[in-house]
Homo-oligomer: 206 residues x 2
């Protein structure tokens, strides 16, 4: 009985070596993360099963379950950064761009709640994984540079950091509250809420 074989599944049942198990595990992990909401319920053995490989095989590519989750989080940060970097109306320095970044942030969280939560989970955020720290730092750098470009000389360095902190906090907080279903609101209201928060003047503080 063949299991339905997704793209990341072992190519043939008779091939001993998988070929590209590393990325297959990543893909399977992301897929399971999307489908199965809860982070703590994602099992290393389950990922191995999805790829058609023994649990022990995973350890040839990731030193632990945490390392695998870390790799998933890195992928998440990359995708989020990409989503924020999409050009908006061709311009890259207007306040509109700042709003766009905030919108992209919240939308990403809503579209990938489990992945988003994983990215900021102590399971991985506490680890000193170099790739993870780099990918996360990219996000902060983008935001601070965008704020710097928009605010220009109107804000000194300290002011910029303050504005960046406020922006990030607000956008991050809204994302968390939304995906945790703390805000009991209709779907149709979500967009309005996002707009209320990504207002450039609010983000910049003037």
């Amino acid at each position: 009985m063949l299991k339905q074989s997704p793209v990341y599944a072992k190519k043939s049942a008779d091939s001993y070596h998988h070929g590209d198990l590393q990325s297959a595990l990543l893909a399977a992990g992301l897929e399971i993360l999307e489908r199965h909401g809860n982070i703590s319920e994602i099992a290393l053995r389950q990922v191995a099963r999805a790829v058609g490989v023994s649990p022990a095989a995973v350890y040839r590519h990731y030193s632990s379950k945490e390392a695998l989750l870390s790799a998933l989080a890195v992928e998440g940060f990359r995708r989020l950064t990409d989503a924020q970097s999409e050009p908006v109306a061709g311009r890259i320095v207007t306040p509109v761009r700042l709003s766009h970044m905030g919108r992209a942030y919240v939308r990403f969280a809503i579209s990938n709640p489990s992945l988003f939560r994983l990215m900021f989970s102590p399971l991985v955020s506490g680890s000193r994984d170099a790739a993870l720290m780099f990918a996360a730092q990219q996000l902060v750098d983008n935001l601070e540079s965008a704020i710097g470009t928009v605010a220009g000389p109107r804000l000194a360095t300290a002011g910029r950091r303050k504005a960046a902190l406020r922006s990030w906090s607000m956008v991050h907080g809204l994302s968390m509250l939304l995906i945790d279903q703390q805000l009991k609101i209709a779907h149709s209201e979500v967009d309005r809420m996002i707009e209320a928060v990504v207002d450039p003047s609010v983000m910049l503080g003037f």
Copy 2:
């Protein structure tokens, strides 16, 4: 060999019935949560052991591990609400009070990171536990009413909700980023960051 016996431990090794297992489990759970940072690492069996009781005994008081965690979260919401309700300089309607609530929120998160995370974890926030929903709603009500009192007629209902959303998002986001150690900052800087965010004019949006 006697284990060190905290207050919540079974009173005597020879007594069959515990007496007040329910609250003993809560106390032990909170204690373990504080000590052992990671939410997903807190084990029902571990809590049972700490109280000196068999794992199955827990199920006489909580229908599942999730139910136990839910009860812990409820306690968390109660404590947070209490912390926010402390009178500040005797006054209860000034903008200072709004800042105080924000400060209390972030401070609570920093002081009880695991509990705070649990309160907003999908493990419990997704459940329709009545007690939990009530305790959480209390928080929102307090905030909206405080904003209403401070802003007075200057804000219509819609404006108040918008301001409440912004305030909560910002304070919640800062809390999360802080306890997730995403903001690589010195301890001494934390207070300044909090102040930058709980500024009344920022919270109210004018």
